[in-house]
Amino acid sequence: MKKIDKKRLFERLNNLIKDYVVYAPKGKDFGKIEDTSEIKRESINVRLSPKQVFLPQEEALFTFKQGDIKVPENNEKYILFGIRPCDAKAIALLDKNFDTKDFPDPYYIDRRKNSILIAEACIEPESTCFCTAFGSGPFESKDADALIIDRGDYYLIDGNEKALSLFDGLLEDDGGEKILELKKKAEDSIKSPVVEGIDKKLSSMIDDPIWDEVSRKCITCGACTYLCPTCYCFDIQDVGKDDKYMRERVWDSCMFTVYTLEASGHNPRKEKEKRMRQRVMHKFNYYPFLYDEYGCVGCGRCIKYCPVNVDIRKIITKIMEV
């Protein structure tokens, strides 16, 4: 591990904004910054997750004018500074959907391959955090290019060459500083539900009455899925007029009725319990089936921002008790 003076790091980051699009926590949400003075956290993890960098809320797939298709070019390079370890893991999970052998998604991949992820360890996790349920943790470094640990005037930093080279000349010896205790304290403060075996268990719970019970108070607003760093469902729409059109992709949500509504009026997930089942099944049964990993990283956003206090941890516990 190395150590880096905070002031000098921010100076360097300010210089890098010339060559990179830099995203960081900006108070309430994660967003693009023009100056490091904007970096601020209202809470340990911010509301809008970094998935917006790779899968923007809306983006043009192409424009269409007088019979010609134009694909927007993107040669930007990105630095994602101060994302949380759970969000870094969420990006690794998004990769599995978009960076596939059969149909690689060029829009996602172009941005992703030009990005550097700098995660920041969570010294004091929030009450809604439960990343440790999924084999990750507040000091997990494996899904980011670098991990920084806040030590007051300086950060401890460890990472790959790609990330560390951004800070050439600024890295000092860490003087043998130990972080084990800090890490253990953070981990121990997290109360995670037990999830072992939930994927197998869910396979036989398709018709269980539990779905009605756990979805009863849900108002199907979709906030949980928009804010979830691993949810990626999108819609494709044409916008424009006269002879100039744009085909856009925009975030969508499996919690909405129209999501699966067919032209005939038939809707395989008309009832909200089927939609809640879809959301839970996708994360805890389908994802493990396809990729051998859970599709939830325990970031807690869906818990914090649900207007009616639906708590995915309680749903997990209920499933485990069936």
């Binding site: 998604d105 879809q278 099944m281 049964n285």
Partner: protein, 272 residues
């Protein structure tokens, strides 16, 4: 990197109303950059720029020089497609999906069961089987519609009915002036024709009501679930397993389907 969201350009070579009630329109399309390689049962997304994209099963066979689609007018995009005239440009993505397992079918008897306008990809399959006639044993088709004018590809059906290497059974729901085929619903006619399940595969596409009442007949005829195939429809957008909406359990209808065998479907949530 190939961009899977970008459609290819083509032209409508022929367009006509397929059914007497003008609810179905057939388009024969030729792509600007040459022929498309595909397997019967696959589908394409047709774009109307500014309106959107919709998925349609390919009704032409790989051996034909054009791509054929028969489109039922139900909403926004399909209404726009109905307006298209001959020689207008169109945009297409495909082929998408898995298609019928035509290689697995080799050396077997094949039974095709269909109702209404779901016959589209089965036309493709039937012509494919006839193109490779020596690779397949008996071919039986049971196809019905409410009335004669709602059967797709009527002239071709008559031509196939004359052949002695395929058994075509056409049906309409009720007596109709001049109709000489079967009268009755598809499940009833299938039971009457009673094709043997010995060494056979059965492929079925039709409206939900037909499927529901045909399934018990198929069981009665002793077709095991793994030898019965059907093609599913779900609302789709990307068509390539990315946008998330068409899943049934862990499978995506657009990418892992639309063709599934019954034994696979029996294990999945009934989300279709």
């Amino acid at each position: 990197m190939n961009n899977p969201y970008i459609p290819m350009s083509g032209k409508i070579k022929k367009a006509w109303f397929e059914s007497t009630d003008r609810s179905l329109r057939t388009l024969d399309i030729v792509l600007d950059n040459g022929k498309m390689d595909f397997i019967p049962g696959q589908f394409c997304e047709i774009s109307i720029m500014g309106k959107g994209e919709s998925p349609f099963g390919i009704a032409s066979a790989p051996s034909e020089d054009f791509l054929r689609f028969t489109v039922n007018k139900t909403g926004y995009v399909t209404a726009a497609i109905h307006w298209l005239e001959e020689e207008t440009p169109v945009w297409i993505r495909g082929p998408l999906g898995n298609g019928y397992p035509v290689e697995k079918f080799e050396g077997k008897n094949i039974v095709i069961v269909s109702g209404g306008f779901a016959f589209t990809t089965l036309r493709s399959l039937l012509i494919y089987l006839l193109d490779h006639r020596d690779k397949y044993k008996d071919i039986t088709v049971v196809y019905g519609a409410r009335e004669p004018g709602l059967l797709l590809y009527r002239e071709e059906l008559q031509e196939w009915a004359k052949r002695d290497d395929v058994n075509i059974h056409l049906a309409v729901d009720a007596e109709f002036e001049g109709w000489q085929g079967h009268v009755g619903f598809v499940p009833t006619i299938l039971e009457k024709v009673s094709p043997s399940s010995e060494d056979a595969y059965l492929v079925m596409c039709g409206p939900p009501a037909m499927i529901k009442f045909t399934l018990p007949v198929i069981k009665k005829l002793n077709f095991p679930s793994e030898k019965v195939y059907t093609s599913l429809e779900r609302r789709m957008k990307c068509g390539i397993g990315k946008c998330g909406r068409c899943n049934i359990g862990p499978y995506y209808v657009c990418k892992d389907g639309p063709v599934f065998s019954l034994d696979v479907l029996e294990k999945l949530p009934k989300e279709y």
